[in-house]
Symmetry: C2
Amino acid sequence: MAASTLTEVARLAGVSPATASRVLNGSARKPGKDIADRVRQAADSLGYIPNAQAQGLAKSSSGLIGLIVHDIADPYFAAIARGVQAAAREQRKMVLLATTGGAPGEEREAVAAFAARRADSIVIAGSRSCRTEDQDDNAELAAELDRYCRNGGRVAVVGHPVVGATAAEGYHVVAVPNQELAGALAGELAAGWDGDFVIIGGPEGLLTSDDRVRGFQEGLARAGRPPAEILRTAFNRAGGYEAGLTLAARIKAGGKDGEGAAAPKLCIFAVNDVMAIGASAALRAEGLRIPRDATIAGFDDIETLRDFRPALSTVRLPLEEIGRLATQATGRATGSSDADEDEEQPTVSGEVTLRRSTEAVA
Amino acid sequence: MAASTLTEVARLAGVSPATASRVLNGSARKPGKDIADRVRQAADSLGYIPNAQAQGLAKSSSGLIGLIVHDIADPYFAAIARGVQAAAREQRKMVLLATTGGAPGEEREAVAAFAARRADSIVIAGSRSCRTEDQDDNAELAAELDRYCRNGGRVAVVGHPVVGATAAEGYHVVAVPNQELAGALAGELAAGWDGDFVIIGGPEGLLTSDDRVRGFQEGLARAGRPPAEILRTAFNRAGGYEAGLTLAARIKAGGKDGEGAAAPKLCIFAVNDVMAIGASAALRAEGLRIPRDATIAGFDDIETLRDFRPALSTVRLPLEEIGRLATQATGRATGSSDADEDEEQPTVSGEVTLRRSTEAVA
DNA sequence: CTGATTTGGGAAAGCGCATTCCCGCCATGT
DNA sequence: ACATGGCGGGAATGCGCTTTCCCAAATCAG
């Protein structure tokens, strides 16, 4: 027993398929009430479910929103995904998920797949990379997005524009002030601590990481501090752990140099919360305490990590809101021939949140 | 400039659309090599992207897998989603996401939406509810799933079968031994502690919660202990926090009753990790320490929570694997007319993992 | 060298629906 | 009274692709 079709419903109701279509799916023309009732009754007596594929084919639009993330299990992306999902629901659309691990090559594939499915819009979350080895893939990704936009698709990117993308129409960027916020964080940290800083960053070329690093250094400079040393590692917990081990060794070596050892030896800034947690775990595993032996701050304010002790100083980012904004940006009508189309790129604000992990201990 | 079509490619290559289709998309008939090359070249000179909607319409199968979760930002579901996503990629399919907050009514809608999009299969994660107020919605959900299966869809449910579902064909359940594992946890806990137990459970009728509660009680009984008191609350962090507050008050009141106060007053079992974390936070907020004043265990072993201190005793569930298994179960060919179709329902095993949060303190 | 097969390509019929025309009907205007 | 719209409904076309079905050429056996 295959799913029943509009034609069957129409036949049962004794009307033409055209009429059935008009009553069952929003059309400009509203058939007479009595006929409408007959059709509706026939429809649910047959358990009719419209074939979205056919509808999509006929009106060339699918009601689909494509979402690209590095890893859906990463709480950062999960939070954004929740916002996207919520906004999609408001637009009565469904979300198609693609995970790419951050590789531009796979992102390109995902965009192509979304284009094939005629997704109405695409939301790309996750840091852009501009490493030279990704150059070609980035170019192809940009080209793919360009084509998608030219064919009427809308895209929103969280954070940075895709490297090399030029599409004027339908291309939105939800700007995240990573640099400013990292600078503000550095400023507040510098106000309560006069020792050394060290940064645990992601691989060079990861734009989000680079921005946060740069912003932090600038903040330090503004506070009259020398630039911090930068440890490059993977942009995830494992990377943070590894860097933490390195720092732990250094701290312990430094401790032997004499002096009281009662004060923290280092203020660590990890470019995201997950890395900060990894680093903390490493320090603890090495017998060091936070904030006694070292202080540490992260970035993002991941919800699941808020119960972590010592409470992690970080920069709160409205992740869910970001996902929502990105999605909404793609939702607005495209054809507003209004000359000065404002195209207001939505902006987002964060907030430095100092907690126990960077508290000066007496 | 609209996306180019198969027909255009065919014309450019000087062949019929039929031939173009045969070379560009896997067909039984392989056209001659020279012609194939011509078509392929025409295709990518035009930047041809097949229209998946049309393909789906024509061969009635969409390459889509529908995933239903309560909340994608919940790390439990995020982990499962990662597994689903991975398996989907292996099957060269895309995943469609729907979040329902756990309401059977919304789940029904999601299934209908997936059916409309002709998803090849549906994976339902998230606890089933059998509260009386959900009875009607559950019945409708079951009916919807039934219809979906009769029309050739495959569905896999994580944990419990959907209440009332009867579809024989294409219906899979990935069993999670919640009850046994909770029993085992109770046993191990009882071996190292001879005081009182209390359970923080979800609302009555949430099958997963009920199973874990029941299993824990059975484990207690096997160890010769009286049944634990049960606090019912929301199945999330907020619920855990609330229950934690209640228990904190009770512990503090009990403390005044005299005696040493050096030993924990209570062993708490929260039916999932997130609730356990909430409860811990509440205890801490009330000035209580774990495991000094109370010990606590959770369930799931959420990855993001593993760095939490004191390390949470819990039951490790292979969440990602569960998602993968569920998805794979729906992927197998349906028409194996083999008589004794084994239909091996995949099974999953967990592991009791005792950590610091339930350590007996001297 | 002829007749029976296999091959390789094209024509055409849908898949399920939206939508543009078109046509007959009734309510208007003068 | 007749002509003119306006409206409710149906017929037909097309969305982009897959897939039978059919036909010509090429291959083979006898």
